[in-house]
């Protein structure tokens, strides 16, 4: 099953490699990993998407907790949560399909943010699933390049991962 693990880790040099190294050393897979500082500059917040059986996920969370620098973590899959991912996608356009591509982007609430005579760049946020769906929907056109941030998320309501 897919899990989104949200981690608060001391903002020290090497924090990212400790987490990434743990995953490669123990053979866990990482689907995506996003890291950035938040309002508390002493901490770094990572969001990690992984897949595994319940046993594997249990080990992953235990092993992550065992890292000395990890302050707290939560598996968003265990709680009601909101998940978002940002995608930029560049599509080759012909006079014949420009309107069609724009309409598709609109349907998915994407924005065209760069335009040339031969291309559109579309910005889109949503759940990873929605982004997948958009990519599938326009796959008949020529996709030049895609970049995605990987998922990030927060629990709904007042529950939160803070100190």
């Amino acid at each position: 099953m897919r899990h989104i693990i949200s981690i608060l880790i001391e903002n020290e040099a090497g924090a990212l490699s400790r987490v990434a190294g743990l995953f490669s050393a123990r053979g866990y897979n990482i689907e995506s990993l996003t890291v950035a500082p938040t309002d508390d500059l002493t901490l770094s917040r990572m969001t990690l998407v992984t897949r595994g059986s319940d046993e594997v996920i249990e080990q992953i969370t235990k092993q992550l907790n065992k890292l000395i620098d990890v302050v707290k973590l939560t598996d968003l899959a265990d709680v009601v949560h909101v998940e978002r991912e940002l995608m930029l996608i560049k599509v080759q356009t012909e006079p014949s399909n420009r309107a069609e591509i724009k309409r598709m982007a609109d349907i998915f609430r994407g924005k065209v943010i760069d335009v040339t005579s031969k291309s559109y760049m579309i910005e889109m946020t949503g759940s990873s699933e929605k982004l997948d769906a958009f990519v599938a929907a326009i796959s008949e056109h020529n996709i030049m390049e895609i970049v995605r941030t990987g998922a990030t998320g927060l629990p709904r309501g007042v529950g939160s991962l803070t100190l």
């Binding site: 880790i9 090497g14 190294g21 080990q59 065992k66 000395i68 302050v71």
Partner: protein, 578 residues
Amino acid sequence: MELSGGQIVVQCLKDEGVELIFGYPGGAVLHLYDAIFQQDDVQHILVRHEQAATHAADAYARSTGKPGVVLVTSGPGATNAVTGIATAYMDSIPMVVISGQVPSAVIGSDAFQEVDMVGITRPCVKHNFLVSNVADIAETMKKAFYVATTGRPGPVVVDIPKDITDPNIKVPYAYPESVSMRSYNPPREGDQAQIQKAVDLLLSAKRPMIYSGGGVVLGEASDELRAFSRLLGYPVTSTLMGLGAFPATDSQFIGMLGMHGTYEANMGMHESDVIIAIGARFDDRVTGKLTEFCPYAKIIHIDVDPASIAKTVKVNVPIVGEVGIVLKQLIAEINLNPRRVGVEVLAAWWDQVKEWRSVNCLEFDRESTLIKPQYAVEQLYKVTAGNAFITSDVGQHQMYAAQFYHFDEPRRWINSGGLGTMGFGLPAAIGVKLAHPDADVACITGEASIQMCIQELSTAQQYQTPVKIINLNNRYMGMVRQWQEFSYQGRYSHSYLEALPDFVKLAESYGHVGIQIDKPEDVTPALEEAFAMKDRTVFLDIITDQTENVYPMIEAGKGHHDMRLRVAPGTPIDRELA
């Protein structure tokens, strides 16, 4: 007090109560070595190879419970230490390794003797630090010792760039009294509801087993284990790492379990209905084939490291906490509970265990005209009255040591269990002897292993550490040969040791005593002679039977009930007990 970085490191060691460190100098740690030179509170032991520094410090820690401390230079000094760091990591040994690093300004430029020590050691340390400011040294050192020694212990590396120890840059020094880290809070007490569940299970068992591990030794919980086991009267087995926590000569002890464990311990585990694992981690050398592991048992597992629980084996009652504290909680709870396992039920289980025991699975050929390695260890046990500290290397000799030297006290059996590091034994013996100058210390080794850190005979001479090296010389990498005999139809690929040195002359060239024997009747007199020489390091080269194998053995992919014995047991096993 204003001190330079180099002086601060040394002062931190003093303030931490460190008496001994093991190391080897080089460019990146010259400032540090200069600070060491100018004081006598912290004694530095100069080894002959950085790997040996880590093993000696590790064994110092294993035998005393205090953290071992290592000092090495950058680059090759640091990489040489990695094997020893990994060895300590696998066995959860508290150790602080200080490594020099190239000056901050050139880090990342492939400078002379630069390696990314923090990167290289990340997977084999409990934690590591790169110090980037003189003012941070004291707090970092305090954290290093705190992390290394608390919770599930382990090695911590502190990597210090050369400029940070510059004698010309002085800063105010104060060693922190205590340290608290919001991200690190090792557990202590076990959850009371879990304790209750465990006790209910323990008191309703029909075929209970106590499976104790290295965590009991590390957690100083030997007394609690003894009290707990005696209160219940259940059979006790131990992992390789846990030997000595429960007395081996106690009638409740049924021997080591696992790959080369006793028939009674492995059969007991296999047939058991309730197992309590205490500070043990269900290592693959213990469990054998996982799908056949303890098929009838409900399992209680106590460990200070939650990640050890349910890692490979599912458990019914996990208890996270310090073993000593949890055992006390269990004892208190049992004392409150009037229920006990029925006398007849327990007696029937013990009858079964005794029947397995009567197979006498460790018996060997006592009529042989060749020296049997088992006999040599048995005699060593007698000659030292079971009181010696025994270090070992890795191979058959290690298993004979574990099987035939009956440890009645914790911290006496010093071996590399998790990593299985050949070369561990001799530097370990030196580390133990330095910690316990008045005790008998013997290194049970093999002619292959001993050559991996043989240069430490020089250290033994310099510091007058009279250890006894018991070389069970079978001219083979015996353990490799045994696997090749069992699984590769006797194709002994590169396991025969040609061109062995004359160990007697080798020992003598380092100023030690060398003795070689090859007849069974000489074993006891030679051992007596060796141990009578209180102030000499003695290399006892014992030419043993080359064809001897370690039994019993659970071969790869087999379960506990499927052991290879020297003699097949005639006893049918009756599961329908009680």
